[in-house]
């Protein structure tokens, strides 16, 4: 790196302090934000970090600037230390300093009348999460307990509390909520989302339509995922469809993320996606699942679940996809019924259990007749099939009218 003189270092630091105080005095949110984004590795902050290393007496400059222009040294001083730690790749230390700065910022933010500093607050909320993630990776690699992400969650809850008022700042609450969601999902403590969701959806001060579209899409994506976890498919469909319809189509990565959860939901309510959609968004892991459902191919379903097991488990949709098994059985028996109808229309509505046993054997699934009777009774009980089974004659008797009802947007009854 080029040699940095003491004079040049001094100039860089005073320039930053000047920009900071000017942004605050002018209530210029967009100008203040980049000054806070430590992990952005912007040229400005990288050169500032270098200057801080050279000019070790920078605290005096901060104090002087504070005297002159009501600079907020409680925000800036720990921010400088954070920057130095970050550049030295000491992320846990960087996090601690940033949280200190962020708390001072939040205190000032609370006192500022208008919502001019909303964008800088977004920056702080984003940054504290990013730094916490880096810090926790560092702590984990040292064999220590990674606890910074949890601390960041506590900070964001405070931020949410500050925003949840009658002032115009409240439109920022959804952004902070979404950053909280990202933390809870990462930590695996998604049940903590519940109380925030209750606030957003029931508190009188919040009008959902007032929030920025970008934040609404993210919110609906995460709350939709929660509904998937709890297998509330109708609600999940509604939320994820909202996210999909309002998502910027140019953001194909985001579209894919939404579809990754929406497709299992649609499958669960009996709606199959077109193959071109799966190909367009590179959702190849769902191809064989969809094919298995169309063909009634239980073996293919099993194979697809095994092939993509790790991916499905990690994304949290494995148990949802496993449940599609009943629909595949329904499809298989329906095909047997159709074939039988062509051969002998008079006996079309009586399917021998032994025939189903043979079909399953052809699919390399060895099931005895008691097992098939069990499956048939489940299908009838859950309204995937209309009719009854006769144990004595080992036959399932299908209703003449619409023996295999479609789900039509409703999940299989439990």
């Amino acid at each position: 790196m080029a040699y940095l003189s003491m004079g040049e270092a001094h100039r860089r630091i005073t320039d930053y302090l000047s920009q900071f105080s000017t942004a605050v005095l002018n209530q210029d949110g967009p100008s203040l934000t980049p000054l806070l984004l430590v992990s952005s590795n912007s040229r400005l902050l990288v050169s500032l970090a270098h200057a801080l290393d050279v000019f070790s007496d920078w605290l005096r400059l901060v104090d002087q600037a504070d005297d002159q222009s009501q600079l907020l040294s409680e925000i800036v001083s720990p921010l400088f230390r954070c920057l130095q730690s970050f550049r030295a790749a000491r992320f846990a230390d960087a996090y601690v300093y940033f949280e200190k700065s962020a708390n001072a910022f939040l205190q000032e933010f609370r006192n500022w009348e208008s919502a001019w500093a909303l964008e800088p607050l977004y920056g702080v909320a984003y940054e504290i999460r990013i730094l916490a993630e880096k810090a926790d990776r560092e702590l984990a690699s040292l064999g220590k307990n990674p606890e910074k992400l949890k601390a960041a969650g506590s900070y964001l809850m405070k931020g949410f509390g500050v925003l949840a008022g009658k002032s115009s700042k409240r439109v920022g609450a959804l952004y902070v909520t979404c950053q909280l969601f990202k933390i809870y999902f990462k930590l695996g403590t998604v049940h903590l989302c519940r109380s925030v969701i209750r606030s957003i959806e029931t508190a009188r001060i919040f009008e959902f339509e007032e929030f920025p579209v970008r934040d609404k899409v993210t919110y609906m994506y995460y709350t939709g995922r929660l509904e998937v976890f709890n297998e509330n498919f109708v609600a999940a469909d509604e939320k994820l469809m909202y996210a999909l319809m309002h998502c910027n189509p140019q953001r194909t990565a985001n579209m894919r993320m939404i579809l990754k959860y929406l497709i299992p939901v649609k499958l669960s309510i009996g709606i199959l996606p077109k193959m071109w959609l799966l190909e367009k968004y590179n959702l190849v892991e769902y191809k064989d699942i969809v094919k298995a459902l169309k063909m009634g191919d239980l073996r293919l379903l099993r194979h697809a679940l095994v092939e993509h097991e790790e991916r499905f488990l990690k994304s949290g949709v494995y148990l949802v996809l496993e449940k599609l098994e009943l629909q595949v059985y329904q499809r298989l028996i329906k095909k047997i019924h159709i074939i039988q109808k062509q051969k002998d229309p008079a006996k079309a509505h009586q399917v021998k259990l032994e025939t189903i046993v043979k079909a399953l054997k052809w699919l390399e699934l060895d099931m005895d007749i008691d097992e098939v009777e069990c499956i048939v009774s489940i299908l009838i009980y859950k309204n995937l099939m209309k009719g009854y089974f006769a144990h004595k004659s080992k036959v399932v008797v299908l209703r003449k009218q619409d023996p295999f009802p479609k789900l039509n947007g409703n999940p299989v009854s439990s």
Binding site: A140, G188, G316, I378, F389
Partner: protein, 408 residues
């Protein structure tokens, strides 16, 4: 173990004539080092692999029943007995001694070999001394003693259970306060989990109407808490590159506990839980079985659920599964009743083989579900379909085991 034991003994000898301890002033924790020579703060400068005697020095704040809010310092207990002397004397005065703690049956007398420290709900750290806390080796011996009481035949099970329940909770409390997370602590927690699992089965069977039994639910609650604590310990041990022998087994117990819909959700859904489990654990034999049973249960596949449980479940897995067997059997009755052919009733003999239940127990279950059975001219017992009187028992199920397999 030796390290901690040595520290405890060393402290004891240096502090002869005085009661070494520490005091907490205000909201921050301070150690007056001059007056407590036996205890000193420890900071971990580097991390070593977890061994039998090495403690991980960065505990998880999510470990339950944690009272001391120290970031880098923790205490090492010095109490040599199963119960601190001070507590013994106090409980003698108050005549607060369990039947297992009375010397020669005297409700006002106990001894170091009988008394076991009680779980304290409102543990105060203000006057806590290291002599109030039992070190790991003493905790280990205490646990061994407690589990030995399970073989007692002179007291009803619920009395034995109640005592061990409380005292194992105290052991966990002592482990938490010392923030010990090593192989020894994990072993102890696993033994306590096993106790709760066998109790789960016994309580479900003996209580008759298990939903009404508060013992059953309290045991379930602590079982779940114990498991969640163990999982935190596994995660921490993995970060320290420690050896974890039984993780797959104990993770599988958590999955099996989610079979019923009435389990209190102490955390997240299984789908979100699976996201964070190492894939190698999810693919283990124990977890694959648990996941397979979960699939059968969720689908309603009573045939496979019961037969797979009978042939593949381990003893402890079977203990957890037994309360669900009759739930599944009742579901099977619901299917047959609704979907069966009215003209040809279902033979009870065949059904009892399918559901792996004694025929007379099956008749009791039918009756509990509001279903009547009948006998044909040949003397064969039958279950007619399409009975409108069917209903799932609201007060839970009597618990029957499986044909040819013993549980608790």
């Amino acid at each position: 173990m030796d390290k901690h034991l040595a520290a405890g003994r060393g402290g004891g000898s240096r502090g002869r004539g005085r009661k070494p301890g520490f005091y907490r002033g205000g909201s921050s924790y301070t150690v007056p080092s001059s007056s407590a020579p036996s205890w000193r703060p420890r900071r971990s400068d580097h991390t070593e692999p977890v061994t039998g005697s090495q403690a991980i020095s960065d505990p998880s704040p999510s470990i339950p029943e944690q009272d001391i809010k120290s970031e880098h310092e923790f205490l090492i207990g010095t109490c040599p007995d199963m119960c601190p002397e001070k507590e013994r004397a106090q409980r003698e005065r108050l005549r607060d001694l369990s039947v297992f703690e009375r010397l020669n049956g005297n409700p006002g007398r106990t001894s170091p070999s009988l008394a076991v420290k009680k779980f304290c709900r409102t543990m105060s750290t203000l006057h806590l001394q290291t002599s109030d806390i039992r070190p790991p080796s003493v905790l280990q011996n205490t646990l061994k003693y407690l589990l030995g009481l399970l073989e007692s035949t002179s007291h009803p099970f619920d009395v034995v259970h109640d005592f061990i329940f409380d005292r194992t909770r105290s052991i966990r409390q002592d482990l938490t306060m010392q923030q010990i997370i090593n192989e020894q602590a994990i072993d102890m927690y696993e033994e306590i989990v096993k106790f709760h699992i066998t109790s789960h089965c016994k309580l479900a069977r003996y209580s008759g109407k298990s939903d009404e039994s508060s013992l059953y639910y309290l045991n379930m609650e602590q079982l779940m808490k114990c498991l969640l604590s163990i999982f935190d310990m596994y995660d921490m041990a993995r970060r320290s590159k420690g050896v974890i022998k039984n993780e797959a087994e104990f993770r599988s117990y958590y999955v099996l506990l989610h079979l019923g819909c009435k389990i209190p959700t102490m955390g997240n859904s299984l789908s979100s839980w699976f996201c964070r489990i190492p894939f190698s654990i999810l693919q283990s034999e124990e977890m694959c079985l648990a996941r397979t049973l979960l699939r059968y249960y969720r689908m309603g596949d009573y045939k496979q659920f019961i037969s797979t449980t009978a042939t593949r479940a381990s003893h402890l897995q079977l203990c957890l599964l037994e309360p669900f067997l009759n739930e599944v059997r009742a579901q099977a009755l619901a299917y047959i009743n609704l979907c069966g052919y009215k003209v040809n009733p279902y033979p009870l003999t065949h059904l009892s083989k399918l559901l792996m239940i004694q025929e007379q127990d099956l008749e009791s279950l039918c009756s509990a579900c509001g279903l009547e059975t009948c006998i044909d001219e040949a003397g064969t017992k039958l279950l007619p379909a399409k009975q409108t009187s069917f209903s799932l028992p609201k007060l839970g199920f009597q618990s029957y085991g499986l044909l040819n397999r013993d549980t608790c």
